[in-house]
């Protein structure tokens, strides 16, 4: 019992350090002169950052980008959830696939595949359509705000779907039926009953996608930057990564507004989801709604959903695989196929920086996720099982980093690491990753802990096992499913990590996503694609291996 009471404060210190220190350093940094002069108090950086004539355009583009992405993701999610829960469409397992698989494809590669398809000079689809219709100019330009919104919206679709689908399936259909019985038309019922009842879920989805796209770096940097469209994330990156002298003070000052906006939005989201309980009427009758018979619309609709899953899952991998074999981007034709070779693959596998990035990312993925999961186990245990007054503080702390935009927190960590020997080491990345992605480990583990009845532990104690043996023999084996999903989530996040890494990675500590970004900036699409496919392959292999190991361990 004495050990238990020491656990929570110790974890508060660790998690507090991980989540609070970058914020503190960010604030301190924003009020100082720069890395070299970390003393005195000056608002010079704020003045510089917020009198920048470009800033208003950046803020406007950021708003359009985030709101647009939220609209695209939420509307698509509403459509998919409605079709899934309320119609007799076949192949319903598709919907689960659509909502999970895109999470497995790294955002930067998804963005790159769209650039390869729709860039105005040599995008594959653009070229093909120009040839088909004899056009002089490309039909689409992905390097635009609509292009960014489309790609980000598709990427955030899983998040929106995971919020909206449960609300949709918990919806009490009798609310609609009584509206129809009162004489309202189907459309009136939809706008006056269905959508208002779902409003909390819709709002929650919109807010969460805004938070996600505000923090998004892959899409703005791969698609926005070539079109000279800057959002807050890429603006911050530009301040620290280009020009003669990176200005971390100004970056911190700009980052403060992204951080504050994000925290406010997450607070609003929490508020909404806690209120939604009394809003969304969950049918207590366990009643299955009558499914809408789609009749003739069934197969066209299925086609739309098939296309969507193709675009979300198959197309990116296919485009990358295709491009990796070619010397430059070209429309698939006889000539293209005759030019195919493994040259790009050979170059990547001989490129020392790519190999180093591969090694670093693998190490971060395997070792970092393991460390992250171990920390998550202790934190979840303290939150769910120990339940002292301090548990609440620990819980808030550990989900705090969820509301921090990656690049902003990267800048904060930079201010911290530059004062420590950790600067420019892989440990800096490791600490940053664990801090930023701790909620990904804690969520599956705390739900696993909730399922372990306290009697299971107590009976072990009475049987003669000490607290440590109880943890090892009872708690951990029962936690294995949670541990495995937490580890998979963390490892795949770490393996593809971009936003923190672009700030923290230095020569010698390159990681895969950063190396892919460099290739994109240099237009080395072939090598990029080869490295990207390797990245997807490793990521999938890790998922499969971890699931198999988890299965083997639970049987034992």
């Amino acid at each position: 019992m004495a050990r238990k009471s020491a656990l929570t404060p110790a974890l508060i210190v660790i998690v507090g350090f991980l989540t609070i220190s970058p914020v503190v350093m960010l604030v301190a940094g924003s009020f100082s002169e720069g890395f070299g002069a970390f003393h005195g108090f000056t608002t010079a950086k704020y003045v510089e950052a917020y009198t920048d004539p470009e800033l208003s355009a950046i803020l406007l583009d950021t708003s359009i980008f985030t709101l647009g992405s939220a609209a695209v993701a939420t509307l698509l999610a509403l459509f998919l959830a409605y079709v899934n829960t309320r119609t007799d469409i076949p192949f319903k397992f598709f919907f689960g696939v659509i909502s999970i698989i895109p999470m497995m494809i790294p955002h930067i590669l998804f963005s790159v595949s769209w650039v390869l398809l729709l860039n105005p000079s040599n995008g594959i689809l653009n070229r093909y359509l120009m040839g088909l219709f004899g056009l002089k100019e490309a039909l689409f330009n992905i390097y635009s705000l609509p292009g960014m919104i489309l790609v980000e919206g598709l990427l955030d679709l899983p998040i929106a779907y995971l919020i909206i689908a449960p609300a949709m399936s918990a919806f009490d259909v009798s609310l609609e039926e009584s509206s129809r019985a009162c004489g309202a038309s189907a459309l009136r019922t939809l706008t006056r009953v269905t959508l208002p009842v779902l409003r909390p879920a819709i709002l929650a989805s919109v807010i969460l996608v805004i938070v996600k796209s505000l923090a998004s770096f892959a899409v703005p940097s791969v698609i926005g930057t070539p079109g000279r469209i800057y959002v807050l994330a890429t603006h911050i990156y530009r301040i620290i990564a280009t020009g003669f002298s990176p200005d971390y003070g100004k970056a911190a000052a700009v980052g403060m507004s992204a951080l504050v906006a994000s925290i406010l939005l997450v607070y609003l989201y929490r508020h909404l989801t806690s209120e939604s309980d009394r809003y969304v009427t969950i049918s207590s009758r366990g009643f299955k709604p009558a499914l809408i018979d789609l009749k003739g619309a069934k197969y066209p609709l299925l086609g739309v959903i098939g296309l969507l899953s193709f675009v979300l899952i198959v197309l990116p991998v296919l485009v990358l695989l295709y491009t990796s074999m070619l010397p430059y981007i070209m429309v698939p034709d006889a000539k293209a196929f005759s030019l195919m070779s493994w040259k790009n693959w050979g170059e990547v596998l001989r490129d020392p920086i790519s190999l180093l990035a591969l090694k670093n990312s693998l190490m971060l993925g395997l070792f970092g996720a393991t460390l992250g999961v171990i920390l998550s186990i202790f934190v979840s245990y303290a939150i769910v099982k120990v339940r002292t007054a301090a548990s609440g503080i620990l819980e808030s702390l550990s989900f705090l980093s969820f509301s921090f935009p990656g690049i902003v927190i990267g800048v904060g960590f930079m201010w911290f690491f530059v004062r420590t020997p950790l600067y420019a080491t892989i440990w800096a990345l490791l600490i940053g990753y664990i801090a930023a992605y701790l909620p990904y480990g804690i969520r599956p583990l705390s739900s696993a802990f909730v399922q372990i009845h306290s009697h299971l532990e107590e009976s072990s104690r009475v049987c003669g096992a000490g607290p440590f043996t109880t943890l090892r023999r009872i708690v951990i084996p029962l936690l294995i499913p949670g541990i495995v999903s937490g580890w998979i989530l963390m490892a795949s996040m770490f393996l593809r990590e971009l936003t923190l890494s672009v700030v923290l990675s230095r020569p010698g500590t390159e990681v895969l996503a950063v190396q892919i970004l460099r290739f994109a900036e240099d237009g080395l699409w072939g090598r990029l694609s080869a490295l990207g496919i390797i990245m997807i392959f490793i990521s999938s292999a890790l998922v499969v291996a971890a699931s198999l190991l988890g299965k083997a361990l639970t049987k034992w």
Binding site: M1, H455, S459, R461, C463, G464, I474, L478, T554
Partner: protein, 362 residues
């Protein structure tokens, strides 16, 4: 082994309010008996059990198991549960779902670093004892409720503890299985030289299983006694009412007559046992259980413990009628043979069994 509890106090905080779960409890649980803690929910019985096991820490007091003090606030002693050498069966059975039946039962022995050979023979012996031989390799989750309960019992017994504790072990079984398991448990425990502490809120379970019953209320022990003492001679009106259906009639002791006393009540003069020796002239309560009130043929006027009343309600429940009889302003509950010809609203004569009415302090 004997368990001695002195001055045990435990407070809870719920929504900012202090709730006293155990209030200065003194109790001695004698060795090698089945001892039941009985009481309504929230009376502190489970808290007391968990303090004995070491899963909860009291705020004050002392607990000794045999010669060893396992908790003392004053002497700053806390022996953790795993060092107390006890066995326990939980309300939820707490069978570990990731282990087989064998692994569940072997666990306490593995914790004691027993050689594998010996573990095998011991586990086999105890599985046979609870009639689960042949189930060794069954995953624990593939068992019925009753079987899980027996695995839990085998696991609690396998290390041959001197004390075994039960926290409402039958409350998750359905009614029929509960009756069977109750009998079985009594047989299992009777065959062992072991101190058993049993927590329940079910009075029938307590009466059927126990050598001794302690009745708890609001964090205190109200009365301790063997089942018959508690049922027939309780000295506390809460206990008398809780342990079985009871008619409690207020009155004043008029005279003594050997082991009996005459008490004047609202419905008339009643003669009953006076086990507590209540003096004449004092207020007292007379307790008579429905099964000791008989229907009399016709009123023998002036007969001893004979009353005339009116049947207010009559419920046919199969093996009997359950009747509420109004005598004056007092309602008396009684059971009437189902074959008798009675109707609601009819007159009836009741006779109270002199040797099964008893007086207790008001």
């Amino acid at each position: 082994m004997e368990i001695r509890i002195k001055g045990l106090t435990r407070d809870y905080f719920s929504e900012g309010k202090r709730i006293r779960a155990l209030d200065n409890v003194d109790l001695t649980i004698p060795a090698n008996r089945i001892f039941t803690l009985l009481g309504p929910s929230g009376c502190g019985k489970t808290t007391l059990l968990r303090c004995i096991v070491g899963l909860e820490t009291p705020d004050a007091g002392e607990i000794a198991i045999g010669d060893e003090i396992v908790w003392s606030t004053e002497k700053r002693i806390f022996v953790p549960p795993e060092k107390r050498g006890l066995g326990m069966v939980f309300q939820t059975y707490a069978i570990w779902p990731h282990m087989t039946v064998f692994e569940n039962v072997a666990y306490p022995l593995k914790c004691r670093n027993m050689p594998m050979e010996e573990i095998r023979t011991r586990v086999a012996r105890f599985l046979e004892f609870v009639q689960l031989d042949g189930f060794e390799n069954r995953p624990a989750t593939k068992l019925s409720g009753g079987q899980q309960q027996r695995v839990a019992l085998a696991r609690a017994l396998v290390a041959e503890p001197k004390v075994i504790l039960f926290d409402e072990p039958l409350s998750n079984l359905d009614a029929k299985l509960r009756e069977e398991t109750r009998k079985e448990l009594r047989r299992f425990l009777a065959g062992l030289n072991i101190t058993a502490v049993y927590v329940t809120h079910d009075r029938v379970e307590a009466l059927a299983l126990s050598d001794l019953i302690a009745i708890m209320r609001a964090g205190r022990i109200v009365e301790v006694g063997d089942p018959k003492q508690i049922y027939f001679r309780s000295g506390d009106r809460f206990v008398a009412d809780f342990i079985g259906r009871a008619n409690l009639i207020k009155g004043k002791v008029a005279a003594l007559d050997g082991s009996h006393a005459v008490i004047e009540t609202d419905i008339g003069v009643i003669v009953g046992l006076n086990p507590r020796g209540i003096e004449p002239g004092t207020e007292a309560m007379l307790c008579v259980r429905p099964e000791f009130i008989k229907m009399a043929e016709t009123g023998v006027a002036g007969g001893r413990n004979l009353f005339r009343g009116k049947i207010e309600t009559l419920l046919f429940i199969g093996e009997a009628y359950e009747g509420e009889i109004r005598i004056g302003d007092t309602l008396i509950t009684t059971t009437i043979s189902p074959t008798v010809d009675v109707v609601e609203g009819g007159d009836i004569f009741l006779s109270f069994d002199t040797d099964h009415c008893f007086l207790l302090p008001a």
